[in-house]
Every structure is written in C-alpha cells, then in structure tokens.
C-alpha cells in the first residue's frame, strides 16, 4: 500500500513500542517503518526463487517466535492487512498463543480496500468473491457470475511448486479457459495495483479477459472481474416473504 497513508495509529504505536520489528513489504515501506523503530529485521531475506515458500513461511514464523521465546516484545509488520491472504501472520499468532504468549493481530489497510476506493467498486452492490488465483485453479469452485470476482496473486497463478516468482502465458491460458466457463474472452477485467508512493498513480488497466494472457503482471497485481450476468430473482423466496408480510397484517 502507500507509504505515509496506510497505517492504523494502533499499528504504528505497536511498532514504535516494540523491542524488535519483523517487516514484510516494499523496501520503501521498510525504510518508512525503520523510522518508527530502528530495530527492524526484513522478512524478505527468507524468499528465494526456486525455494518452496512453505519453508520460507516457516522460517519467518521461527524468526519471530525465537524473539518471542526470548521474552521480547515482538511486532510482525506485514504490508496491507496482515490477516488478508497472508499465512505467516495467522500462523505465528496461533503458535504464540498455543505456547501461552499474549498475541494478537491489528487490522491494516488491504489492497482490497484500496481497490474499492480507486476503482469505485462497492463489494456489497452485487456481492463479491475473492480467491487466491492458484487455489481457484487447483480446486473446483462455484463461481457466482452475477457478483464481482477478485483474484489475488495472479502473477503466480497455477504455480504448483510454490517456488516460482512468476508463471507464464501457458498458465494464464489455462486460467482464462477456466474463467471462460462464466466469462467470455471479450469480458472486460481490471488489473489493479495500488501505488507504493503517493506521487504515483494506481495501475488501473481495463483489458479483455482474452488479453489477460499477454498482460504484464507483477507480484502485486490483483484482477477484478465484474459480473457477466444480472442478478436473478429468487421468486419463491420473495413470494414466501410476501406471504409473511401479508399474514402479519
């Protein structure tokens, strides 16, 4: 998210008062958070291309837990909302609690929040469904094409190895074919990236679903797919509700 803008006062206070801060996010955000607490350790060091991210996430959790067990006041500062599409923050809190330490999460401002603001989308208008792109491909999901569909981590869509930094066109081709069950190739979708600094504009690129295969994606790209169908009335429920109201009078 954006340096300076997207931090809750309580999160800032926890960071300022911590003995040690572990940080996961953009290097500029890291510099910003270092101004709040100079004892900052980057969690980025645990990533490596070709390395299974299950190991990476365990190492992140271990690094934090080692300091917790040493009696330190530890903050894990993760960009966005730490509990949204993010495994290590949930895991470290569960483990810390299980070992008897006080641990809790404070909410942050997620990519999702920025998307709603920048694209002028209200998730409540017709409903919205969020999936991690790879999970959406690996498992059979019931898509509601009359609601928004938001796919996260599209830059690594279809990565079974959990070790890639990007997946290519062949993977996206499969994702598009899967989406074609509900959305034609001409359907307009948005590629969204919230800027890291306030002097940059957000990336809001409307393309056709078919063009998604060739699109430039990064690890921070989120895809918004608007509904392809109108809401269908559930007449039998409407009728039953009408009967209730009629009987109440």
């Amino acid at each position: 998210m954006t340096v300076g803008a997207h931090i809750a006062p309580i999160a800032r206070s926890h960071i300022e008062n911590a003995d040690i801060v572990f940080f996961a996010g953009h290097p500029l955000m890291e510099m910003w958070v270092t101004e709040m607490n100079s004892n900052l350790h980057s969690l980025q060091v645990f990533y490596a291309e070709g390395k299974d991210r299950r190991i990476t996430y365990k190492e992140m959790v271990n690094a934090m837990m080692t300091e917790v067990r040493a009696g330190k006041k530890v903050v894990g500062a993760f960009y966005g909302h730490p509990g949204v599409f993010a495994l290590p923050p949930h895991n470290v809190i569960k483990i810390a609690k299980k070992e008897g330490y006080a641990a809790h999460m404070v909410p942050g401002i997620s990519a999702e929040d920025c998307l709603y603001a920048d694209l002028g989308v209200d998730p409540g208008k017709v409903g919205s469904q969020h999936f991690e792109a790879s999970q959406f491909m690996f498992y059979q999901r019931q898509v509601d094409p009359s609601a928004y569909l938001i796919l996260w981590q599209v830059g690594i869509a279809g990565d079974k190895s959990a070790a890639k930094f990007s997946t290519g066109k062949a993977y996206r081709q499969i994702l598009v074919e899967l989406l074609n069950e509900n959305y034609p190739n001409e359907h307009k979708v948005a590629l969204y990236e919230c800027p890291t600094v306030a002097i940059r504009e957000p990336r809001i690129e409307w393309i056709t679903l078919g063009d998604f295969i060739e699109a430039e994606l990064s690890l921070i790209t989120t895809m918004l797919i608007p509904p392809s169908q109108k809401l269908l009335k559930n007449q039998s429920i409407i009728d039953r509700l009408a009967l209730l109201e009629k009987n109440a009078h």
């Binding site: 954006t2 340096v3 300076g4 803008a5 997207h6 996961a24 996010g25 953009h26 290097p27 500029l28 510099m31 910003w32 101004e35 980025q44 990533y47 991210r53 299950r54 996430y57 365990k58 993760f78 960009y79 599409f85 993010a86 495994l87 290590p88 923050p89 949930h90 895991n91 569960k94 483990i95 609690k97 299980k98 991690e132 790879s134 999970q135 690996f138 498992y139 996260w152 981590q153 830059g155 690594i156 079974k160 959990a162 930094f165 890291t196 600094v197 306030a198 002097i199 940059r200 990064s218 690890l219 921070i220």
Partner: protein, 69 residues
C-alpha cells in the same frame, strides 16, 4: 527533510501539495524510488497435495467438548 519523510508527508498530509516540491526534492524522490528493489509480495500458498494441509496451518486449537446434559 529526508526522502522518506517527504514520502511519508505526501502520503499522510492532505495539505501537502506535491506540485510545490522543489526540483531538488523531486530528484531525491525519483532517485530513491528508482533505486528501490521490487519485493516478494506473495504470502499465501495453495498447493494441491496432501502434505499442504499439514504444513499450512498449525493445528487448530480444539474447542472444549460440549458436556452432555
């Protein structure tokens, strides 16, 4: 002001007008932005194998069993 303080102000202070940045400040900002490496934003894993569910989550704490009355 350091580049990061400037960026913080740009993000946090609605009355801070970016068009009033001096040429030198703009240069400092562009410099720090262009030098910043990209980062790995991926923090969630979905792997369709059996091992995944064990590796993925530490064991859920069990709810205390309901007493039969």
């Amino acid at each position: 002001m350091t580049a990061i303080t400037l960026l913080e102000k740009l993000g946090a202070d609605a009355s801070f007008d970016p068009s009033l940045l001096s040429a030198q400040d703009k240069e400092t900002l562009e410099d720090i932005i262009s030098k910043a490496n990209t980062f790995n934003a991926i923090e969630l894993i979905s792997v369709p194998d059996e091992k995944e569910s064990e590796e993925k989550e530490p064991e859920e704490e069990k709810e205390p069993e309901e007493k039969q009355s």
